[in-house]
């Protein structure tokens, strides 16, 4: 689960960037902590760290904080995070995908052609 590619950082707002960092940090934290209670404690500490600077207005400092946070996330993220079975790369992902509709259903001209062929085979034409 890649966090966010550098070329995409420019396409999102600052708020989205902070939100993604926070959400991904929580998710990876859950992959590290086995017990929910331990995760809860760590999540509260994480929340405090984000809340501590929520009223910061200095743009340069905000930028630096965010970059530091992203670098910390990159270094501390779980190498093999939990993936939901039905999500991409999950254990059930792409299992028995239904065939595309054009395989199951004939187009109008195919139906016409099929009917003609059946008639020909039955000797009606």
């Amino acid at each position: 689960m890649a966090y966010i590619a550098s070329h995409l950082k420019t396409g999102i707002t600052h708020q989205q960037r902070v939100m993604r960092l926070y959400r991904n940090s929580l998710k990876h934290l859950l992959s590290w902590c086995i017990e929910r209670e331990v995760w809860r404690e760590e999540a509260l500490i994480l929340r405090d760290r984000f809340d501590k600077y929520k009223n910061e207005t200095n743009q340069q400092k905000i930028q630096k904080l965010l970059e530091t946070g992203e670098a910390e996330f990159e270094s501390k993220k779980h190498p093999y995070p939990y993936i939901n079975p039905t999500s991409p790369d999950g254990s059930k992902w792409e299992r028995n995908i239904p065939p595309p509709p054009h395989v199951l259903h004939m187009l109008p001209w195919e139906e016409e052609w099929y009917k003609e062929m059946c008639d020909w085979a039955d000797g009606k034409n």
């Binding site: 086995i34 017990e35 929910r36 760590e42 270094s75 190498p79 093999y80 254990s91 299992r95």
Partner: protein, 611 residues
């Protein structure tokens, strides 16, 4: 009866494969399972005839290859080794077939699945019952092919495609070893039949030729039995459905390599160097796989690495020349490992295909029977006294201690016993005992499976409890050496180490759970190193496979195929002929003096010829 086992298995496979659409999901399941039940009953009779009545059977069916250099018959050889292997294969396969009828319910391709399972079993029986290396190789390749088909059963999954191709390619490396070994045997002895070869080799002196042949055979076994270096396909093969993992990775395919070592034991006895290498690779595999299994989070991968580790024990026993003990552990391992895999399947089935143990927990109250099964399988795997695994695993360790120059196999194996306990109890704790981390909607639907999901587990649990005790005398009777005499401390050390592992798990998971949060930098490095299986995939891909691929592309493809061969071959010939015909066609330009010149030359030659 002997040939009918093969016939029945292939009939079941073909009927389910070709007529699956007519038979339907239920019909295919019933047909293939019935064929397997009949094969199992015949295997029991064969076991009785061969092991208990001491009647070895050898059937020559037909002459298959006949040339000046080589004559090969298609024959079946049923001796003690084959009888035990047959019993193990058909028992596990029958139970896996029955289990699959419930586990795969709802899948749109059940007849294909049942057909693959039966065909796989058929080819495994071909492998073990063959009387020569060439026929063995058919079964060897056949199980490789079927493993590809079964791992890739959900063929719409890219991960399954990749895992299946990886299994196929890694196994090919081992297969090349086996092929070269067969060439070596043919060159050295002029035959590929077991009876001829073994009679000759026991009276021949040890030589470098035999050592080389043994090492090549061992490369084949390393590939098939997922030993260190060529093990990378085994954990990835967990992409297949869980019954496939139980069949392929517990009882049949991975044991083919160990079977090859046991079958070729007369050669290995003439090659002490090869035996030493076998022991070293086996003991390193035991330790490596156990360390990796300790921190895996995928339920099936924990069991897969455990399989890898236990196969290491079997290979160590072969390296120590105790082939019957290796066979004994193979048989015991088949029961408790199939039980663990099928129990894992039951858990995954109950949790709507969730495989990550981080999202499990608290299942003891909802699926208590499966919990008991996992505990029985794990205790047997750990070598808990008087359970099936105990009789063979501890014996292998004791035998390893006896070997003065390879005692390290004992210490590695002993330490791995601690790790085995560690990952087994961790698995039980995180899956059943800890507070649940499942989603509420999934957790509320958890329940035990139907009778065909539970019955195989109960039978395998009985096997995991009693098979070791009941058959120890039978297998020990094959042993020509005396039981080892080792100090009591050494005898008890594996048990103490296992207890130490259990204590460590209890301390870590029951009392120090708060330690499991984001680790330090060194902790993260260690975790990543172990989780990624010592970075073997990276090393093999970037330092070996990539260079071999690049070399293959530059040398084999561009320089030879598209370069030299094209210039000398089709393209060169075509260019030459095009140039020639173009030159000849230029002669026919429609100019009178050209024709006059040709006529003049013709007349001159005619006159010169007459004169």
């Amino acid at each position: 009866m002997y040939t009918c086992i093969l016939f029945l298995l292939v009939v079941g496979a073909l009927a389910a494969g070709v007529g699956g659409r007519k038979l339907g999901e239920k019909g295919a399941g019933i047909l293939t399972s019935s064929c397997l039940i009949i094969s199992l009953s015949w295997s029991v009779l064969i076991f009785y005839e061969i092991i208990l009545s001491f009647s070895t059977t050898h059937i020559k069916l037909w002459r298959w290859l006949d040339s000046d250099l080589l004559t090969v018959y298609f024959g079946l050889q049923f001796d003690g080794l084959v009888a035990i292997m047959l019993l193990v294969i058909t028992t596990i396969s029958t139970l896996v077939h029955i289990f699959s009828t419930a586990y795969m319910l709802g899948d749109p391709h059940i007849p294909r699945f049942m057909s693959y399972l039966s065909f796989f079993t058929f080819l495994m029986v071909v492998l073990v019952s063959s009387d020569n290396y060439l026929q063995l190789f058919i079964g060897w390749e056949g199980v490789g092919l079927c493993s590809y088909l079964l791992i890739n059963f959900w063929l719409t999954r890219v991960e399954a495609n990749k895992a299946a191709i990886k299994a196929m390619l890694v196994n090919r490396v081992g297969d090349i070893g086996l092929i070269l070994a067969m060439f070596g045997l043919l060159d050295r002895f002029g035959s590929l039949e077991f009876s001829s070869l073994f009679n000759v080799v026991v009276v021949s002196a040890p030589s470098s030729d035999i050592t080389l042949i043994c090492l090549l055979l061992f490369i084949g076994a390393v590939g098939k039995s997922a030993q260190l270096g060529l093990h990378t396909w085994l954990p990835d093969a967990m992409e297949g459905p869980t019954p496939v993992s139980a069949l392929i990775h517990a009882a049949t395919m991975v044991t083919a390599g160990v079977f090859l070592l046991i079958r070729s034991s007369p050669f290995f006895e003439q090659a002490p160097l090869a035996l030493m290498i076998v022991t070293i690779v086996g003991s390193l595999t035991v330790l490596f796989a156990a360390t990796v299994g300790v921190i895996q989070n995928d339920l099936k991968k924990v069991i897969a690495y455990s399989t890898c580790s236990q196969l290491g024990y079997m290979v160590v026993a072969c390296g120590l020349s105790h082939y019957s003990i290796s066979l004994f552990h193979l048989m015991n391992h088949a029961f408790f490992k199939a039980l663990l895999f099928l129990s894992a399947g039951s858990v995954i089935h109950a949790l709507s295909d969730e495989q990550d143990i981080r999202k499990m927990g608290g299942l003891i109250k909802l699926i208590p029977l499966t919990y008991i099964m996992v505990v029985v399988g794990s205790l047997s795997l750990m070598g808990f006294p008087y359970l099936t695994g105990f009789y063979s695993k501890d014996l292998i360790l004791e035998l390893a201690f006896e070997q003065y120059y390879l005692t390290f196999a004992y210490w590695l194996g002993g330490f791995s016993a601690l790790l085995t306990t560690l990952y087994s109890i961790r698995l039980v704790y995180l899956t059943f005992l800890s507070n649940t981390n499942s989603r509420k909607a999934i957790f509320r639907r958890v329940h035990e499976g139907s009778w065909n999901l539970v019955l195989p587990l109960i039978i395998l649990a009985l096997g995991s409890l009693f098979v070791g005790y009941l058959t120890k005398e039978v297998v020990w009777s094959f042993q020509i050496t005396f039981p080892p005499i080792v100090p009591v401390f050494i005898k008890l050390l594996p048990v103490f180490l296992s207890l130490g592992g259990a204590a460590l798990v209890i301390v870590l998971y029951f009392y120090s759970i708060h330690l499991f949060k984001v680790p330090s930098f060194i902790g993260r490095m260690g975790y990543t190193f172990l989780y990624s299986a010592w970075q073997f995939n990276y090393v093999l891909n970037y330092f070996l496979a990539k260079r071999v691929w690049r070399g293959g592309h530059q040398i084999s493809y561009r320089t030879i195929d598209k370069g030299t061969l094209e210039l000398v071959g089709p393209k060169g010939v075509s260019n030459f002929l095009i140039g020639l015909t173009r030159g000849l066609s230029n002669l026919q330009a429609g100019q009178v003096f050209n024709y006059a010149l040709v006529i003049l030359i013709g007349v001159a030659m005619f006159i010169w010829g007459v004169v």
